[in-house]
């Protein structure tokens, strides 16, 4: 009985490990594809924003956007564009933008006149996918 229990534990750990591998590799691939949306005139903000989403989970990214800059947000999931819905809110929860109104556009530029403290929410388009890695990339130019 103990041997059977031990074998089953090994199986469970193996399943966990495969889950880990599959979780990390798709995120890296998604990020690489997403980078195509951040063109050369934008400088990366130097950070990785990723989340594994299931069903209707929402990822929340908190950031400050400086006045006088233009930012590009690229938001991706899966291996094609249009799978991720992202919305930008200010701290008072006024909706600044949502790509849902623009066919889930994979990127959008934001020209900031005055510094803005904002929240970006990202969720999978339920019509496309029930789970996946959400990647957000941020670039800026002066």
């Amino acid at each position: 009985m103990k041997k059977a229990g031990f074998k089953l534990l090994v199986v469970a750990i193996t399943i966990f490990s495969f889950n880990s591998v599959f979780a990390q590799s798709p995120c890296d691939t998604v990020a690489t594809l997403c980078e195509n949306n951040i063109t050369k005139q934008y400088i990366s903000d130097g950070q990785n924003y990723r989340a594994l989403l299931l069903d209707d989970e929402i990822a929340e990214f908190n950031m400050v956007l400086y006045g006088g800059s233009t930012y590009r947000f690229a938001a991706c999931s899966g291996f094609s564009n249009g799978n991720l819905i992202f919305s930008v809110y200010d701290r008072e929860r006024n909706l600044i933008f949502t790509n849902k109104e623009h066919s889930n556009a994979p990127y959008w530029d934001f020209k900031i006149t005055n510094t803005l403290d904002c929240i970006i929410e990202a969720q999978l388009d339920p019509n496309v996918s029930a789970s996946g890695c959400a990647v957000l990339l941020v670039g800026f130019k002066q």
Partner: protein, 301 residues
């Protein structure tokens, strides 16, 4: 809005593992009910998942502050930078990580001021620390070669450096070293605020002073980023110092007024028309300057 995770699948798998580990044919029923909770995920599968109740906190790039300072006509001042040769004295991962961020900010600064020789020195320091922290793949010889090849082209060099830091951030998160990644961000932010307060003091430039005040929200974000690691060596001092700094920033008044943004669909551009005014008294500016100076002095020592 708070992010919630549906842990049904993961809770089930965890339950299965526990079940097989300790039982011999126990007939306890599985719990299939959906459980939605707000938790901090910390396993290898979720190194890229959100932490802190499902929220991710971003720290602005130090390069943007350098742009502001240079754009305001502030002259190059090497004295405000950390000395590259001190790199060999940083022995703990804490000091290495935070100074990787500090030297990165310095590198951005000298690059914007076309200080080629200084840039090479800082790049060397960055590479040394990157190697020590195990992110040598981000700061490899190829980066050095491309950097040297593009010297003179600010945008290309800044892009290269930023991409290297992003690559480093990715590696650290993939390898469950989020605390090191957070320290790199912290170091970059401390250094850029140090530049900003120094420049504000020298010039009394309104835009630069406002930029100091605008850090009110970022210092809060940074504290949230570092707090999960409070129990680790050296983190508590930094977090405590940042909380004291945050208390000073509470005296900065920021007034925000929402104005409907303007959308240009063809250009895929939204212009933010909302206004933000910053009210920071000379006394509060002085307090922030002194406090960030002390924090920074401790980090680079």
């Amino acid at each position: 809005m708070t992010t919630r995770f549906n842990l049904k699948n993961q809770a089930l798998l965890l339950s299965l593992t526990a079940f097989f580990a300790v039982s011999c044919g126990d007939d306890q029923p599985k719990d299939d009910s959906t459980e939605t909770v707000e938790v901090e995920e910390k396993n290898a599968n979720n190194t890229q998942l959100l932490e802190l109740d499902g929220k991710v906190f971003s720290i602005p790039s130090p390069i943007q502050t350098a742009y502001l300072i240079k754009g305001a006509g502030v002259t190059y001042n090497k004295d405000i930078l950390n000395v590259p040769s001190k790199v060999t004295g940083y022995s703990t991962n804490f000091k290495k990580a935070v100074n990787l961020g500090i030297y990165g900010a310095d590198l951005g600064y000298v690059t914007l001021y076309d200080q080629t020789q200084d840039a090479i020195s800082f790049l060397t320091a960055v590479k040394t620390l990157g190697d020590d922290l195990g992110v040598s793949s981000a700061f490899d010889m190829e980066l050095v070669e491309r950097f040297e090849k593009n010297i003179g082209n600010q945008d290309s060099v800044l892009s290269l450096v930023s991409e290297a830091y992003k690559s480093s951030d990715k590696y650290l998160k993939n390898n469950d070293q989020n605390h090191i990644g957070a320290l790199v961000l912290a170091g970059g932010w401390v250094e850029s605020l140090y530049f900003t307060t120094n420049s504000a003091e020298m010039t009394s430039n309104k835009e630069i002073i406002n930029r100091v005040g605008e850090q009110k929200n970022t210092v809060y974000n940074l504290i949230k980023l570092l707090t999960p690691y409070y129990d680790q060596p050296e983190f508590s001092t930094l977090v405590d110092d940042l909380m004291e700094l945050n208390d000073i920033f509470e005296k900065v008044e920021i007034t925000y007024t929402f104005v409907e943004p303007t959308v240009d669909v063809a250009k895929k551009t939204t212009t933010i028309n909302s206004t933000t005014t910053v009210n920071i008294s000379p006394e509060v500016l002085k307090q922030i300057t002194e406090k960030i100076g002390k924090i920074r002095a401790e980090l680079i020592s």
